[in-house]
Protein backbone atom coordinates (compact mmCIF):
# COMPACT_ATOMS: atom_id res chain seq x y z
CA UNK A 1 0.00 0.00 0.00
CA UNK A 2 1.32 3.46 -0.82
CA UNK A 3 2.17 5.77 2.04
CA UNK A 4 1.64 9.51 2.35
CA UNK A 5 5.38 9.88 1.75
CA UNK A 6 5.03 8.15 -1.65
CA UNK A 7 2.12 10.44 -2.50
CA UNK A 8 4.02 13.56 -1.45
CA UNK A 9 7.04 12.54 -3.55
CA UNK A 10 5.14 11.49 -6.68
CA UNK A 11 2.70 14.42 -6.70
CA UNK A 12 5.33 16.92 -5.50
CA UNK A 13 3.12 18.10 -2.67
CA UNK A 14 4.05 20.63 -0.04
CA UNK A 15 3.82 19.22 3.50
CA UNK A 16 1.89 21.87 5.41
CA UNK A 17 1.47 19.87 8.64
CA UNK A 18 2.32 16.41 10.01
CA UNK A 19 5.87 16.07 8.67
CA UNK A 20 6.47 13.20 11.11
CA UNK A 21 3.35 11.26 10.10
CA UNK A 22 4.12 10.56 6.44
CA UNK A 23 4.64 6.82 6.94
CA UNK A 24 0.87 6.42 7.23
CA UNK A 25 -0.50 4.01 4.61
CA UNK A 26 -3.16 5.41 2.29
CA UNK A 27 -6.00 2.88 2.23
CA UNK A 28 -8.40 4.74 -0.06
CA UNK A 29 -9.23 8.09 -1.64
CA UNK A 30 -12.14 10.49 -1.76
CA UNK A 31 -12.67 13.91 -3.35
CA UNK A 32 -15.38 16.49 -2.62
CA UNK A 33 -15.73 20.07 -1.43
CA UNK A 34 -19.01 19.66 0.44
CA UNK A 35 -17.90 18.59 3.90
CA UNK A 36 -21.28 17.02 4.64
CA UNK A 37 -20.59 14.57 1.78
CA UNK A 38 -17.10 13.89 3.08
CA UNK A 39 -18.45 13.05 6.54
CA UNK A 40 -20.90 10.64 4.95
CA UNK A 41 -18.57 8.98 2.43
CA UNK A 42 -14.85 9.27 3.21
CA UNK A 43 -13.28 6.36 5.07
CA UNK A 44 -10.79 6.17 7.92
CA UNK A 45 -7.23 5.79 6.68
CA UNK A 46 -8.05 7.38 3.34
CA UNK A 47 -6.76 10.51 1.67
CA UNK A 48 -9.22 13.35 0.95
CA UNK A 49 -8.74 15.79 -1.91
CA UNK A 50 -10.45 19.19 -1.66
CA UNK A 51 -9.97 22.86 -2.43
CA UNK A 52 -11.60 23.91 0.83
CA UNK A 53 -9.17 25.25 3.40
CA UNK A 54 -11.60 26.12 6.20
CA UNK A 55 -10.93 25.10 9.82
CA UNK A 56 -13.66 22.46 9.54
CA UNK A 57 -11.45 20.54 7.09
CA UNK A 58 -9.14 19.75 10.00
CA UNK A 59 -12.06 18.83 12.25
CA UNK A 60 -13.53 16.47 9.64
CA UNK A 61 -10.16 14.83 8.92
CA UNK A 62 -9.62 14.31 12.64
CA UNK A 63 -13.16 13.05 13.19
CA UNK A 64 -12.87 10.47 10.40
CA UNK A 65 -9.28 9.47 11.15
CA UNK A 66 -8.12 10.23 7.62
CA UNK A 67 -4.54 9.52 6.62
CA UNK A 68 -4.27 13.02 5.19
CA UNK A 69 -5.86 15.85 3.24
CA UNK A 70 -4.60 17.27 -0.06
CA UNK A 71 -5.63 20.92 -0.40
CA UNK A 72 -5.64 21.81 -4.08
CA UNK A 73 -5.33 25.05 -6.09
CA UNK A 74 -3.07 26.66 -3.51
CA UNK A 75 -5.88 26.86 -0.95
CA UNK A 76 -3.70 27.96 1.94
CA UNK A 77 -5.15 27.42 5.44
CA UNK A 78 -4.54 30.18 8.03
CA UNK A 79 -1.76 29.75 10.57
CA UNK A 80 -4.17 28.96 13.41
CA UNK A 81 -5.73 26.22 11.27
CA UNK A 82 -2.27 24.79 10.55
CA UNK A 83 -1.47 24.87 14.27
CA UNK A 84 -4.67 23.02 15.05
CA UNK A 85 -3.93 20.41 12.38
CA UNK A 86 -0.44 19.93 13.77
CA UNK A 87 -1.73 19.44 17.31
CA UNK A 88 -4.46 17.01 16.22
CA UNK A 89 -2.15 14.93 14.04
CA UNK A 90 -3.88 15.91 10.81
CA UNK A 91 -1.61 15.79 7.76
CA UNK A 92 -2.32 18.68 5.40
CA UNK A 93 -0.62 18.61 2.00
CA UNK A 94 -0.73 21.51 -0.43
CA UNK A 95 -0.50 21.78 -4.19
CA UNK A 96 -1.20 24.33 -6.92
CA UNK A 97 -2.73 21.51 -9.03
CA UNK A 98 -6.47 21.05 -9.44
CA UNK A 99 -8.46 18.31 -7.76
CA UNK A 100 -8.93 16.67 -11.18
CA UNK A 101 -5.19 16.32 -11.73
CA UNK A 102 -4.49 15.15 -8.18
CA UNK A 103 -7.16 12.46 -8.31
CA UNK A 104 -5.76 11.27 -11.66
CA UNK A 105 -2.29 11.00 -10.16
CA UNK A 106 -3.58 9.17 -7.09
CA UNK A 107 -5.38 6.69 -9.30
CA UNK A 108 -2.17 6.12 -11.25
CA UNK A 109 -0.46 5.37 -7.92
CA UNK A 110 -3.07 2.69 -7.21
CA UNK A 111 -5.21 4.58 -4.71
CA UNK A 112 -8.89 3.64 -5.08
CA UNK A 113 -12.22 4.64 -3.61
CA UNK A 114 -12.99 2.72 -0.40
CA UNK A 115 -15.95 0.77 -1.80
CA UNK A 116 -13.93 -0.59 -4.76
CA UNK A 117 -10.68 -1.08 -2.85
CA UNK A 118 -11.56 -4.53 -1.49
Amino acid sequence: MVTLRDVVRKLELEVLTGEGLLDRPVSSGYAADLLSCVIARAKSGGVWVTLQSHANVVAVASLLGLAGVIVTEDGRPDDDILARAESEGVVLLGTPSTTFTVVGSLTALGVREASSAV
Binding site: L34, L35, S36, V38, Q52, H54, A55, N56, A59, V60
Partner: protein
Protein backbone atom coordinates in the same frame (compact mmCIF):
# COMPACT_ATOMS: atom_id res chain seq x y z
CA UNK B 1 -39.92 41.84 -8.23
CA UNK B 2 -40.93 45.48 -8.76
CA UNK B 3 -40.44 47.77 -5.73
CA UNK B 4 -44.02 49.12 -5.39
CA UNK B 5 -45.42 45.60 -5.80
CA UNK B 6 -43.07 44.23 -3.15
CA UNK B 7 -44.30 46.92 -0.77
CA UNK B 8 -47.94 46.26 -1.63
CA UNK B 9 -47.52 42.52 -1.09
CA UNK B 10 -45.76 43.18 2.23
CA UNK B 11 -48.73 45.32 3.31
CA UNK B 12 -51.19 42.62 2.24
CA UNK B 13 -49.29 40.06 4.32
CA UNK B 14 -49.07 42.41 7.30
CA UNK B 15 -45.28 42.55 7.18
CA UNK B 16 -43.85 45.50 9.08
CA UNK B 17 -40.23 44.76 8.26
CA UNK B 18 -38.63 43.25 5.17
CA UNK B 19 -35.08 43.07 3.85
CA UNK B 20 -33.81 43.30 0.28
CA UNK B 21 -30.87 40.96 -0.21
CA UNK B 22 -29.69 40.54 -3.78
CA UNK B 23 -26.80 38.22 -4.43
CA UNK B 24 -23.52 39.92 -3.41
CA UNK B 25 -25.02 43.37 -4.07
CA UNK B 26 -27.32 45.93 -2.46
CA UNK B 27 -28.03 48.12 -5.49
CA UNK B 28 -31.79 47.50 -5.48
CA UNK B 29 -32.36 48.12 -1.77
CA UNK B 30 -32.66 51.91 -1.95
CA UNK B 31 -35.37 51.70 -4.64
CA UNK B 32 -37.54 49.52 -2.41
CA UNK B 33 -36.85 51.78 0.58
CA UNK B 34 -38.01 54.74 -1.46
CA UNK B 35 -41.08 52.88 -2.69
CA UNK B 36 -41.93 51.99 0.92
CA UNK B 37 -41.86 55.56 2.20
CA UNK B 38 -45.06 56.26 4.15
CA UNK B 39 -46.28 52.68 3.70
CA UNK B 40 -45.61 51.50 7.24
CA UNK B 41 -43.21 48.89 5.90
CA UNK B 42 -39.59 49.17 7.02
CA UNK B 43 -37.06 48.01 4.43
CA UNK B 44 -33.63 46.94 5.64
CA UNK B 45 -30.87 47.16 3.07
CA UNK B 46 -28.65 44.13 2.77
CA UNK B 47 -27.19 41.47 0.57
CA UNK B 48 -26.86 37.72 0.43
CA UNK B 49 -23.15 37.15 0.50
CA UNK B 50 -21.50 34.09 -1.00
CA UNK B 51 -18.27 33.31 0.84
CA UNK B 52 -15.12 31.50 -0.27
CA UNK B 53 -16.68 28.24 0.99
CA UNK B 54 -19.76 28.94 -1.19
CA UNK B 55 -21.81 29.50 1.95
CA UNK B 56 -24.57 32.11 1.81
CA UNK B 57 -24.70 34.67 4.62
CA UNK B 58 -27.49 37.23 4.90
CA UNK B 59 -25.98 40.61 5.74
CA UNK B 60 -28.51 43.16 6.98
CA UNK B 61 -27.83 46.76 7.92
CA UNK B 62 -29.58 49.54 9.76
CA UNK B 63 -28.03 52.29 7.68
CA UNK B 64 -27.60 52.60 3.93
CA UNK B 65 -24.06 53.91 4.37
CA UNK B 66 -22.95 50.82 6.29
CA UNK B 67 -24.61 48.59 3.73
CA UNK B 68 -22.91 50.43 0.87
CA UNK B 69 -19.55 50.10 2.63
CA UNK B 70 -20.04 46.35 2.95
CA UNK B 71 -21.23 46.13 -0.66
CA UNK B 72 -18.05 47.87 -1.84
CA UNK B 73 -15.90 45.60 0.28
CA UNK B 74 -17.62 42.47 -1.06
CA UNK B 75 -17.46 43.65 -4.67
CA UNK B 76 -13.71 44.14 -4.40
CA UNK B 77 -13.42 40.49 -3.30
CA UNK B 78 -15.43 39.08 -6.23
CA UNK B 79 -13.70 37.66 -9.31
CA UNK B 80 -13.69 40.15 -12.17
CA UNK B 81 -15.90 38.17 -14.56
CA UNK B 82 -18.69 39.38 -16.85
CA UNK B 83 -22.22 38.10 -16.27
CA UNK B 84 -23.46 35.61 -18.87
CA UNK B 85 -27.14 36.55 -19.21
CA UNK B 86 -28.00 33.33 -21.06
CA UNK B 87 -27.01 31.32 -18.02
CA UNK B 88 -27.60 33.56 -15.03
CA UNK B 89 -30.19 35.99 -16.36
CA UNK B 90 -29.81 39.76 -16.61
CA UNK B 91 -28.86 41.61 -13.42
CA UNK B 92 -31.15 44.64 -13.45
CA UNK B 93 -30.99 47.61 -11.13
CA UNK B 94 -34.32 49.44 -10.97
CA UNK B 95 -35.63 52.69 -9.54
CA UNK B 96 -38.42 53.17 -6.98
CA UNK B 97 -41.12 52.85 -9.65
CA UNK B 98 -39.58 49.69 -11.08
CA UNK B 99 -38.15 51.39 -14.17
CA UNK B 100 -34.87 50.00 -15.46
CA UNK B 101 -31.95 52.09 -14.21
CA UNK B 102 -28.99 50.05 -15.37
CA UNK B 103 -27.75 46.51 -15.87
CA UNK B 104 -24.99 45.18 -13.67
CA UNK B 105 -22.45 43.69 -16.07
CA UNK B 106 -20.27 42.01 -13.51
CA UNK B 107 -21.04 38.43 -12.49
CA UNK B 108 -22.71 38.49 -9.07
CA UNK B 109 -23.29 34.72 -8.91
CA UNK B 110 -19.78 34.12 -7.62
CA UNK B 111 -17.91 33.76 -4.34
CA UNK B 112 -16.29 36.67 -2.54
CA UNK B 113 -12.83 35.81 -1.28
CA UNK B 114 -13.48 35.79 2.46
CA UNK B 115 -14.32 33.08 4.97
CA UNK B 116 -17.63 32.72 6.79
CA UNK B 117 -15.96 33.92 9.99
CA UNK B 118 -14.44 36.96 8.26
CA UNK B 119 -17.85 37.76 6.78
CA UNK B 120 -19.59 37.76 10.15
CA UNK B 121 -16.80 39.81 11.69
CA UNK B 122 -16.94 42.34 8.86
CA UNK B 123 -20.70 42.76 9.06
CA UNK B 124 -20.56 43.20 12.83
CA UNK B 125 -17.79 45.79 12.57
CA UNK B 126 -20.22 47.87 10.49
CA UNK B 127 -23.05 47.42 13.00
CA UNK B 128 -24.93 44.95 10.82
CA UNK B 129 -26.67 41.66 11.36
CA UNK B 130 -25.23 38.40 10.00
CA UNK B 131 -27.47 35.38 9.52
CA UNK B 132 -26.37 32.11 7.94
CA UNK B 133 -28.87 31.55 5.14
CA UNK B 134 -31.03 28.46 4.55
CA UNK B 135 -28.83 26.17 6.64
CA UNK B 136 -31.18 23.23 6.00
CA UNK B 137 -30.62 23.39 2.24
CA UNK B 138 -28.32 20.88 0.50
CA UNK B 139 -26.39 23.59 -1.32
CA UNK B 140 -24.76 26.94 -0.58
CA UNK B 141 -25.35 26.42 3.11
CA UNK B 142 -23.15 26.44 6.17
CA UNK B 143 -23.99 22.89 7.18
CA UNK B 144 -23.85 21.23 3.77
CA UNK B 145 -20.63 22.96 2.73
CA UNK B 146 -18.77 22.86 6.02
CA UNK B 147 -20.31 19.71 7.49
CA UNK B 148 -21.36 21.36 10.74
CA UNK B 149 -21.46 24.81 12.31
CA UNK B 150 -17.84 25.91 12.84
CA UNK B 151 -16.65 26.45 16.39
CA UNK B 152 -15.75 30.11 15.90
CA UNK B 153 -18.87 31.07 13.99
CA UNK B 154 -20.50 34.11 15.65
CA UNK B 155 -23.51 34.91 13.49
CA UNK B 156 -26.61 36.45 15.07
CA UNK B 157 -28.93 33.68 13.93
CA UNK B 158 -29.42 30.87 11.48
CA UNK B 159 -32.08 30.99 8.80
CA UNK B 160 -33.99 27.84 7.90
CA UNK B 161 -36.22 27.48 4.85
CA UNK B 162 -40.02 27.77 5.08
CA UNK B 163 -40.17 23.97 4.66
CA UNK B 164 -38.20 23.33 7.87
CA UNK B 165 -40.13 21.24 10.40
CA UNK B 166 -38.72 21.41 13.97
CA UNK B 167 -39.49 17.81 14.97
CA UNK B 168 -37.42 16.33 12.13
CA UNK B 169 -35.05 19.27 11.65
CA UNK B 170 -33.63 19.32 15.16
CA UNK B 171 -33.22 15.54 15.04
CA UNK B 172 -31.26 15.79 11.80
CA UNK B 173 -29.11 18.76 12.89
CA UNK B 174 -28.86 18.72 16.73
CA UNK B 175 -26.51 21.75 16.60
CA UNK B 176 -29.46 23.96 15.64
CA UNK B 177 -30.74 23.75 19.21
CA UNK B 178 -27.92 26.11 20.27
CA UNK B 179 -29.04 28.86 17.88
CA UNK B 180 -31.85 31.34 17.39
CA UNK B 181 -33.60 30.33 14.16
CA UNK B 182 -35.47 32.57 11.77
CA UNK B 183 -37.57 31.73 8.73
CA UNK B 184 -37.61 34.21 5.89
CA UNK B 185 -39.25 33.62 2.57
CA UNK B 186 -36.12 33.98 0.37
CA UNK B 187 -38.70 35.21 -2.14
CA UNK B 188 -37.60 35.49 -5.75
CA UNK B 189 -41.22 36.10 -6.79
CA UNK B 190 -44.03 38.07 -5.12
CA UNK B 191 -46.07 34.91 -4.60
CA UNK B 192 -43.26 33.45 -2.51
CA UNK B 193 -43.36 36.17 0.13
CA UNK B 194 -44.43 34.90 3.55
CA UNK B 195 -44.97 36.11 7.09
CA UNK B 196 -43.22 33.61 9.32
CA UNK B 197 -40.99 35.27 11.90
CA UNK B 198 -42.45 37.58 14.52
CA UNK B 199 -40.06 39.99 16.21
CA UNK B 200 -41.01 41.78 19.37
CA UNK B 201 -38.93 44.95 19.11
CA UNK B 202 -39.08 48.55 20.31
CA UNK B 203 -37.61 50.24 17.24
CA UNK B 204 -39.80 49.95 14.13
CA UNK B 205 -36.61 50.47 12.10
CA UNK B 206 -35.31 47.19 13.52
CA UNK B 207 -32.10 48.39 15.14
CA UNK B 208 -32.84 46.16 18.14
CA UNK B 209 -33.20 42.99 16.04
CA UNK B 210 -29.89 41.67 17.39
CA UNK B 211 -31.31 42.02 20.93
CA UNK B 212 -34.51 40.27 19.85
CA UNK B 213 -32.49 37.36 18.46
CA UNK B 214 -30.66 37.08 21.79
CA UNK B 215 -33.96 37.40 23.67
CA UNK B 216 -32.75 40.41 25.64
CA UNK B 217 -34.53 43.42 27.10
CA UNK B 218 -38.03 42.06 26.58
CA UNK B 219 -37.37 41.59 22.86
CA UNK B 220 -37.92 38.26 21.19
CA UNK B 221 -38.01 36.43 17.89
CA UNK B 222 -40.59 33.72 17.33
CA UNK B 223 -41.15 31.57 14.26
CA UNK B 224 -44.52 30.23 13.14
CA UNK B 225 -43.67 26.62 12.37
CA UNK B 226 -45.67 24.54 9.92
CA UNK B 227 -47.59 21.60 11.33
CA UNK B 228 -45.37 18.49 11.32
Amino acid sequence: MIPPLIVRRAQELGLGLIAITDHNACDNASAVQEAARGSGVTVLPGLELQTREEVHILCLFFSSQSCRQWHDHVQALLPDLPNDEDHFGPQFVVDATGEWARTEERLLAASADLTVEEAVQGVHSLGGLAIAAHVDRPSYSLISNLGFIPQNFRADALEVTPRFVPSTGYAKWPQLADWPLVVSSDAHRLCEMQRRTLFRIADPKGSDLPMALRGEGGRSARVHWPAA
